[in-house]
């Protein structure tokens, strides 16, 4: 085997040691940043919190990169630069999200009291304080229940079809593909569709129930996907053992497969519900709005938390906006609880 000559000059002739920034290096850069930023803020048109923070960030990045470049070399400097950039991206990204939660809690907390949770807005004018969101809570919970009732059987059946019966059939491939696509249907389009069917074609009135239909269209694909994944995780050995005992396929599915995957399925359902109870658009079209409590899903407009938030937020009075924050807080709490429980179930009980 011919040995070719080594290209000179390319060898890492520096040995193993590279110069590194001393322990006081980064703190020194931080101090320099503070000083430089202060100087820039004092003597240039830069001002305001945002301006200062931005200047400080840019200054730090520049100083750190230069210092590292000089002492440690190009590669290390690039590495540090990117690390700083990524940390910055993280902070920049998480800050507004934290801000959302923070403002909701900050503004909504003072609204939460017994009256707020147990009274409706009946006879409360938009500029008056008092009243509550009870009617919205009822509406949201009832609709969540009804939507689940509609969605769960259908979604389970479709998932069962895809996993147990579909095989390589063409129908299964179409269904798989379009279920994925359906997860992206805008909620307003789902609302428009049900509006077309329920109100335009059938001539029914607005109520809570058609909204549940629209929400079901949104919820079903999500639950199908998550259920499907869970069912696929159930080991085939279980199915085969059941078949070998002479148990027909449908019984096997109902009594063996589904119960084994039940925790995961429940998780998927709860996540699906959490997603749809925050949807406002279909509700605007199909449920209307009222200040009164309406227990009947099938007749008359019904208030829900999202529509209350939307309605109150658009009124130019402090009392109304405050109520919107309160309702937002309650809604977020409900959504978070559902999410939390769902993930706790998934975390504690995994199909092995």
């Amino acid at each position: 085997m011919a040995t070719e000559s080594v290209t000179p000059g390319r060898r890492d002739s520096m040995g193993l040691s590279g110069a590194t920034l001393p322990r006081w290096g980064i703190p020194a850069v931080i101090v320099a940043t503070i000083l430089l930023t202060a100087a820039l803020v004092a003597w240039t048109p830069i001002q305001g919190t945002a301006g200062t923070v931005l200047t400080a960030a840019v200054t730090y990045l520049v100083l750190q990169t230069v210092a590292s470049s000089v002492v440690e070399g190009r590669r290390r400097a690039t590495d540090r630069f990117v690390t700083s950039l990524i940390v910055t991206a993280f902070v920049v990204g998480v800050a507004p999200l934290v801000s959302v939660l923070w403002t909701v809690v900050e503004n909504g907390l003072e609204l939460i009291n017994q009256e707020f949770l147990t009274h409706s807005l009946r006879n409360i004018g938009p500029t008056e304080t008092g009243g509550g969101i009870y009617h919205g809570i009822i509406g949201t919970l009832e609709q969540a229940l009804m939507t689940s009732l509609i969605s769960i059987p259908i979604a389970l059946l479709v998932a069962v079809y895809l996993v147990e019966y579909g095989g390589g059939k063409r129908l299964a491939r179409y269904v798989t593909f379009f279920v994925d696509v359906m997860t992206g249907i805008p909620s307003i389009v789902a609302g428009l569709f049900i509006f077309t069917v329920w109100i335009l074609i059938f001539g029914f009135q607005r109520a809570g129930f058609p909204a549940c239909l629209a929400l079901a269209i949104l919820m079903i694909p999500t639950v199908v996907r998550s259920t499907e994944e869970i069912l696929r995780l159930v080991p085939n050995d279980l199915r085969e053992a059941s078949f070998a005992l002479g148990v027909p396929r449908w019984r096997t599915i109902l009594k063996v497969v589904v119960p084994t995957g039940l925790p995961g399925i429940v998780t998927g359902v709860m996540l699906g519900v959490a997603r749809v109870i925050g949807e406002t658009a279909p509700l605007l079209l199909l449920v209307g709005f009222t200040t009164n409590i309406n227990w009947n899903l099938f007749s008359g407009p019904q208030a829900t938390l999202p529509t209350i938030i939307y309605d109150q937020a658009s009124r130019p009075s402090d009392a109304a906006v405050a109520r919107a924050w309160g309702a937002a807080l309650v809604l977020i709490i409900i959504v978070m609880i559902l999410n939390f429980i769902a993930r706790a179930i998934a975390g504690l009980t995994r199909v092995r």
Binding site: G51, G93, V158, F178, G184, V197, R249, L284
Partner: protein, 343 residues
């Protein structure tokens, strides 16, 4: 296992894992066969029926929306693609999707540009930069943030973000007004409920989704590739560049398209934050603009029959746009089904 008359004993086969399992008896089984076959038929029929129902629903959505949109098309006196204004109920009926479609696409693309780099940064941070103990907690938090309802984002956008953006928008208008996006005229003052602010709210809204999906992808990079890069003497960033990012590229693209789909269809946040008008403009710091979804939500209460029909027509357009975006996203990522030795 005892053999009943008429039943063939189960045969022993090797499962994919190499364990001996029992295969179901093949062939006719006597007692109880009819009822189990019927049970199976009913059940599989139900399952198949539910699946067909889903496909039918999608087709029906397109069909019914189109059907009910026809009156508006017929009544329209101008080209519905190029017309900006929205007066479907007046005589003559003049309406078109130029303004709302433009606003939908513009706001979504702006939101995408603002959020994807940050989301990828968050995903990389959680997957490969954060201390391991923090990482799963952070991932959990990001997933939770993806669950915040859009109406809450709208509320926050309107009453918190918009007032706080005044400084930034003024700065952009003063120093970058030469750039068409940031131009404000005629007197150079920026407005509050602008397309820019609406896009920022959208960006914040889709951030958790893009970040969560990207994080999943980055976590799935096989350790062997990362070790391979490290063993060559790569720094952490070089390892990302060599092993993680190329592997995750299609996943990030798909995550972005999922975010795009969500942004395109967003109704409430835009309806709350944007002060709408039917213009086609690049000047996002000026007031005005509209999106298809927000238009539907806002006009719905005032619309009469032709108006409703026109709103449905615009909804149909939105449906197809999001359909295409989502189909592309799913096609890119392939289908993720969990194969764990089960099937």
């Amino acid at each position: 296992m005892s053999t009943e008359p008429g039943r063939r004993p189960p045969t022993e086969v090797l499962s994919p894992q190499g364990q001996a399992t029992l295969a179901a008896p093949v062939g006719p089984v006597l007692a109880g066969e009819k009822s189990t076959r019927r049970g199976d038929r009913i059940f599989s029929g139900l399952a198949t029926g539910a699946s067909v129902l889903l496909l039918v629903i999608i087709v029906l959505i397109a069909l019914f929306l189109f059907w009910k949109a026809i009156p508006a098309f017929q009544a329209n006196t101008v080209n519905f693609i190029t017309e900006k204004n929205w007066f479907p109920d007046s005589t003559p009926s003049v309406w078109g999707i130029a303004a709302v479609a433009w606003g939908t696409v513009l706001s979504s693309i702006l939101a995408l540009i603002m959020s994807v780099p940050v989301a990828v940064g968050i995903a990389l941070f959680i997957a490969h930069y954060a201390p391991r103990r923090m990482a799963s907690g952070l991932g959990y938090v990001v997933d939770l943030l993806a669950a915040v309802p859009s109406v809450v984002y709208g509320l926050w956008g309107l009453y918190y973000l918009v007032p706080h953006m005044v400084g930034l928008t003024n700065y952009l208008a003063d120093h970058f007004g030469w750039f068409p996006l940031f131009y404000v005229g005629p007197d150079g003052t920026t407005a509050r409920r602008t397309m820019f602010n609406a896009s920022v709210v959208l960006a914040v809204m889709i951030l958790p989704i893009v970040a969560a999906v990207s994080r999943e992808v980055f976590l799935q990079v096989p350790t062997s590739h990362i070790e391979g890069a490290l063993a060559l003497g790569a720094t952490r960033w070089e390892t990302m560049r060599m092993a993680v990012l190329p592997f995750g590229r299609s996943g990030v693209i798909s995550a972005s398209m999922l975010g795009l789909g969500r942004a395109l269809g967003e109704t409430i946040a835009i309806a709350m934050v944007l002060s709408t008008s039917y213009v086609v403009s690049l000047h996002i710091l000026e007031p005005g603009g509209n999106t298809i979804a927000a238009n539907i939500a806002l006009q719905y209460g005032f619309a009469q029959s032709i108006g409703i029909s026109a709103l449905i027509a615009s909804g149909l357009v939105l449906f197809f746009i999001t359909l295409i975006v989502n189909m592309t996203a799913r096609w890119i990522i392939g289908r993720r089904a969990a194969f764990s030795g089960a099937n």
